[in-house]
């Protein structure tokens, strides 16, 4: 296990069009045109970005059981800075240098303002040791997103192939092909190839074989 020091590129970029950063059948993260971005490097390698602008996060944190569906779709407007580690090649093509006016539109008088906020977010993320070896999430092999929530903590989404983990303030959702786990509002649901176990708030357990 290695832990590398991150660095932020001083250049502020902006999205030239709407960009879908990540998409699977369970979720989507996209940014709108003109969203600001700065590159994150780890050990001289491009590893991701901090974005700030407008965008959307969707995660279908729903488990289908014999008893009915449990959970909900998470739909969040991304208007606060968020971090992404993963594929950068394709995204880089849709980014260009941002002007002072574009920075001003997002409420930054100068570049430093955006870099400071991006740095705060990175410090919060990396210092907590959430990522020990980012090489695992390089190329098309996986993504990590970190979004600041209302409690000023980080909601984290990790996706790699068919595997998905979404941990937010009030829920945990884990999905991998036919295996799903959801913990939300005091209820826990586990499903594996059609078999499911539901542990309800009142501690009653429903097992579907």
């Amino acid at each position: 296990m290695t832990r590398e020091n991150y660095e932020l590129d001083g250049t502020i970029l902006k999205a030239t069009e709407d960009v879908r950063l990540w998409q699977t059948e369970k979720g989507v993260v996209e940014i709108n045109e003109n969203t600001l971005a700065t590159l994150i490097t780890l050990g001289d390698q491009r590893r991701g970005y901090v974005f700030h602008g407008h965008g959307k996060l969707l995660v279908d944190a729903i488990v289908e059981t014999e008893q009915g569906a449990i959970g909900r779709s998470i739909e969040k407007e991304l208007s606060e800075p968020f971090l992404m580690l993963g594929e950068t090649e394709e995204i880089q093509k849709r980014l260009t240098k941002a002007s002072e006016e574009e920075l001003a539109k997002m409420g930054y008088e100068q570049q430093k303002g955006f870099i400071d906020r991006a740095e705060d977010l990175c410090n919060q993320f990396f210092k907590k040791g959430r990522v020990h070896d980012t090489r695992l999430f390089n190329g098309d092999r996986g993504f990590i997103f970190a979004f600041q929530n209302e409690a000023n903590k980080l909601d984290v989404l990790v996706s790699k192939g068919s595997k998905l983990v979404y941990k937010a303030m009030d829920m945990v959702f884990v999905s991998n092909k036919n295996k799903v786990l959801l913990k939300s509002q005091g209820e826990v649901v586990c499903k594996n190839n059609g078999k499911s176990v539901i542990i309800k708030k009142d501690k009653s357990i429903i097992i579907n074989k």
Partner: protein, 190 residues
């Protein structure tokens, strides 16, 4: 006028005890006879078994006695057995608001919405699949019905894939609506 059964039960208890004493005596005789015959290996575990049976019998009898005292009454219209109401899980903790109840009942109160729930009972469906099944209504009307069901918590939509799924409360509510209707129909037939 209610008459408690305790006196009758005391008598029953006495009879049971007498019967038990008789049984003990008979068992003792059988044991003695078998021992004299010397058939096989006979292990006399003696009074421990008797004591145990006696304890159990007394415990059971007392339990029955207590329960009967609490719940059986003889009145002018005959014997009445009262059963303690078993609260549903969480019933004492969660207050159900009438406006919410009305919202759920209102969501169920349309044939098309019941048909949507019926279709979803067999698994999640896309809007075009539902549209095929409810071809007599427009897509906008179908969407409006789905919104009502979703707001009432009976249906949930996967925002990424777009499928609609029936929730646990939705499934329960649909079954309950069917059951109530069946009950009323049977009653009317009588």
């Amino acid at each position: 006028m209610r008459i408690k059964l305790s006196e009758d039960l005391d008598e029953e208890m006495k009879k049971l005890k007498e019967e038990l004493a008789n049984l003990k005596e008979q068992l003792g005789n059988v044991m003695e006879r078998e021992r004299k015959r010397g058939r096989g290996i006979y292990i006399d575990i003696g009074n421990r078994v008797h004591d145990y049976i006696e304890d159990v019998m007394e415990g059971v009898a007392e339990g029955i006695h207590g329960e009967l005292e609490k719940s059986v009454f003889i009145g002018p219209r005959g014997v009445r057995i009262l059963r303690e109401k078993q609260p549903y899980r969480g019933e004492d903790k969660v207050e159900v608001s009438l406006p919410k109840t009305a919202e759920v009942m209102s969501a169920l109160g349309h044939e098309h919405r019941l048909r949507i729930l019926n279709e979803l009972m067999s698994g999640g469906k896309y809007i075009n699949e539902l549209q095929e099944k409810l071809s007599e209504i427009t897509t906008s009307t179908l969407s409006s019905h789905l919104n009502i069901l979703e707001e009432a918590g009976l249906v949930v939509q996967e925002k990424v894939r777009g499928r609609y799924l029936i929730t646990i409360p939705g499934r329960t509510a649909y079954k309950m609506a069917r059951r109530v209707t069946r009950f009323l129909e049977r009653r009317n037939q009588k």
